[in-house]
Symmetry: C2
Subunit: 256 residues, 2 copies
């Protein structure tokens, strides 16, 4: 599909997509297309979801805050996307937002906020995180958008953990195997778990160590911030046992 | 050294460090210790540099905006730290700052701003980036702080490149080998090069492809933001051919 038409933006939509259909984009994307990107009727964007794939869409018009678009040619058929969870202790807003953005770029399918002993944050704004995930998915050429779960306590997470999913725990105590060693030869599905800035409590590390589905891993000799640890673990996991062997199908936005 | 005394902060200093010596910390760290961390005379911090290692230091007093400390016991002997460069096209401030912070955490020894065809930023504030690198080094238990070079043009960088250093180029065009494959069996020293948000121009990719020291690598099927690409490439490199096999020596700050 390298001959696909150039598009000015990608917009994730829940609506069913098929050539010839007309759909409405809500206030958020409509504002972005009209007032930030300064697009006009007739301009071409991409619309996508994981179920139907990605289509060209021509802007039909803006009215009452929304945008109407007409669906055109298929740009990309749906294909399986990674099944990879990030379980994370909530951290301060700017770092959390960046972590969610980057986790989405790195192919996470599910974001699970986890309260731990040293977690300083008491609330998680799921709507804000979901909006960041949508924006990152639009930007990075994904077809899917990660789900953002309701927060759970660590004990609850471990108590109902699906036994066939490997939980890769970023452990700065030095007790974990180096991540490249730990991952070599492991079969997924996978999840990554990162703690709060204060780290896991020793009792939490003990509980994690007793779970058969847990692999405690080290990320090198430096003490990484929580957000850095999450991004680094996801990047290494995708490179070694994930979809790092695949290449982008095409680059459809931005400069050439 | 797991019996080392608990310290409230780590401060990078240029001064020579030896037990019994008294040194002065400048306005920036003094303000942080006194007004942010609320430390008092008698409280214990760590002071460090790559040449002498890390020492306990007792706060002797605050006066005229500076802090005086008395050097105590050695906490950590100097040891070799990674020789790893990050060459990066400057991007917008918030993302650039985060990239420098995370590159420091991931062990980069030299930060080289590189102007490319599609680089939108025209200036680089080296002092701000150096301050961010110092703060990140203090936080992540490094002994060294990465150097921040003056910006260079891409052609100049390639023209004077040291032939024995592998330049790992994050290439979203799909032409690069998967990063894990490309790195397997490669010997360092290494540098990572990332482009601006608009990517490399095709002529730049051609020039990079002709250089014998360049390895163009792919980071998976999604299009990563420039900052994400830099962090991901560094994390994977450290895990596969860097110091990812080492563990933290001790965790000397924060909660237990």
């Amino acid at each position: 599909m390298s001959g696909a038409a150039r598009i000015a933006a990608r917009v994730h939509v829940e609506a069913a997509l098929a050539p010839g259909a007309g759909i409405e984009l809500g206030v958020g994307p409509a504002h972005h297309l009209r007032n930030v990107l300064r697009l006009q009727p007739g301009d071409l964007i991409g619309v996508f979801n994981a179920r139907d794939g990605e289509f060209e869409a021509s802007i039909a018009g803006f009215a009452k805050g929304v945008a109407r678009v007409t669906i055109g040619a298929l740009r990309r058929v749906p294909r399986p996307e990674p099944d990879l969870w990030l379980c994370f202790a909530p951290i301060k807003r700017a770092r959390l937002d960046a972590m969610v953005e980057k986790a989405t770029e790195l192919g996470v399918s599910r974001l699970v906020p986890v309260f731990t002993r040293h977690t300083a944050m008491e609330r998680v704004n799921r709507e804000r995180l979901a909006a960041i995930a949508v924006e990152a998915a639009e930007q990075c050429e994904r077809l899917s958008v990660p789900d953002v779960d309701a927060p759970v306590d660590l004990a609850e997470l471990l108590g109902r953990w699906p036994a066939d999913r490997q939980l890769i725990v970023a452990d700065e105590s030095g007790a974990g195997a180096p991540i490249a060693t730990a991952l070599a030869g492991l079969a997924g599905p996978f999840a990554v778990l990162t703690g709060p800035e204060g780290g896991f409590a020793s009792g939490e590390l003990d509980a994690l160590g007793r779970a058969v589905f847990v692999r405690r891993v080290g990320l090198g000799p430096r003490i990484l911030r929580a957000d850095t640890a999450a991004i680094a673990a996801l990047a290494v996991l995708q490179a070694i046992v994930g979809d790092g062997g695949l290449a982008p199908r095409f680059v459809g936005q931005g400069q050439s």
